[in-house]
Symmetry: D2
Subunit: 155 residues, 4 copies
């Protein structure tokens, strides 16, 4: 099945949370599994959205137990490898969706681009070179539907 | 849902493969997800057994792509962390089942015992101290049904 | 001893390489060990600079062997965990220095900030929120001496 | 420089500790760096032995800070990846020496053999197949000098 990683911060804006929930729902409707970090904020919202539509959600947890994982995960994978698990989230999706901004989220975005994955972002941070010119490689979308379309996975 | 890690070698005996297939089937019947390494041999057999009964199987791959993963996985997680992913397999199960023996399998068994997990083994290697006395901590079972029972997860 | 992680791209500008070499030299003079990714570009330049002044350099390699590691490392640690090793580089320094920009480098910067480390950057990329306002948390320096001073480790 | 991983339990026998200390000293005398887990017991003893002879010791820590690392390390690398760091210790040595037995130690031995490394053991656990026949692949030595000789690195 198609699997899509969805990244975003624990402390998210209401807009980010609404976007994540809708993205989760849309992915479930299209039959795609969601991979996420498994905790609160955007991770919880995308899992909740997917679960509400009967979708499959895998949480790749940083901790070595399931403590604090959100209740919407189909399967929780406690990795025990800390933030290094961000590299796994960045690898595990056929595309990577970024909702909102934080340092952890930025690391996932960067690791996804490092491997050459399609990265679609809504909200969140922007990256430019030292002259102020945007660094290319991230697709910016305006709505959850647009995010899904621009992954290129559901044509 | 209950999730059980099943470990075993790529190059397995016919008995190991038959045991793994039946263990996969029994876990699916009991509604438990299977976590495995995602490649061939015992990993393929347990996945095939689970899938044959409609079960959920997560493959935690050592490589950074899905190349060579077996076709019975519901979701394949390419970790890119090599054999360090054995530590994740050892953590991710509510219990850990070992079918057959190899160095990779032994590392998973040892890491599972390191965290204090219930480990049930069928076939495979044995561990003793330097005086030849068996090291305690692994439960040995004789049949797939016995393996499932002795995990203590389905009482 | 004080240990400082130095991150930067394989494909670096001449300015980045000169900066990295000088930073390596200055760290060695101050008795600090350098932690780096161990390959070419900025990683090679900082190692060369440190080694030229008799410094200790540890390369944390992504691959599972020492292949392609640069010749200036005192010790090369082949981790076999791929880009997840960036999380280790981000953790291992008492401060983290960033020289130049790339996706891999950005992931190290982000992981270092995720843990709250002091991050001092020269050259490279900039991060802003969606309104164009710079995200705080990274110290920008203009010269190698300034980079060293602003780590706060050698007062 | 030659680098040798030395593995062993936190809770070790007096004999294991004496052996580890002497192995550390001998490795330093031969100009080899020691890689170890960085905490107490055998890890502390081998580091102490190496440091007593002016050797270089790298501790690959499971935790994300240097807390509880032993005082004899030249450089401590906090990985934050938990027991998955055992895979790094198993990879990082040109040979792997095992002193004493524990589940964590066994995982390092198994991961070292998984990659085909030379593994020399003194004290500790034994591995046999289900018929009781020893599994080949580990070299057993009787004295610290014998351990060093049988790594084959100092001929």
């Amino acid at each position: 099945m198609i699997q899509v990683s969805v990244c975003g911060p624990r402390e998210a804006t209401q807009q980010d949370l609404a976007n994540a929930r809708e993205i989760g729902r849309l992915l479930a409707e299209r039959g795609a599994a969601v991979i996420c970090g498994g905790y609160s904020g955007v991770m919880n919202a995308v899992a909740e959205g997917s679960a509400s539509a009967g979708g499959l959600v895998i949480g790749i947890l940083s901790q070595h137990t399931k403590t604090d994982s959100n209740p919407h995960l189909t399967v929780a994978i406690p990795t025990g490898i800390g933030e290094a698990r961000n590299a796994i989230i960045a690898l595990a999706g056929d595309a990577v969706i970024v909702v909102g901004g934080s340092w952890g989220t930025l690391s996932e975005l960067a690791l996804a681009r490092r491997r050459g994955a399609t990265v679609v972002q809504i909200g969140g941070w922007r990256i430019s070179d030292s002259s102020g010119k945007p660094v290319s490689g991230v697709i910016y979308a305006d709505t959850p539907e647009d995010v899904i379309d621009r992954t290129g996975l559901f044509a």
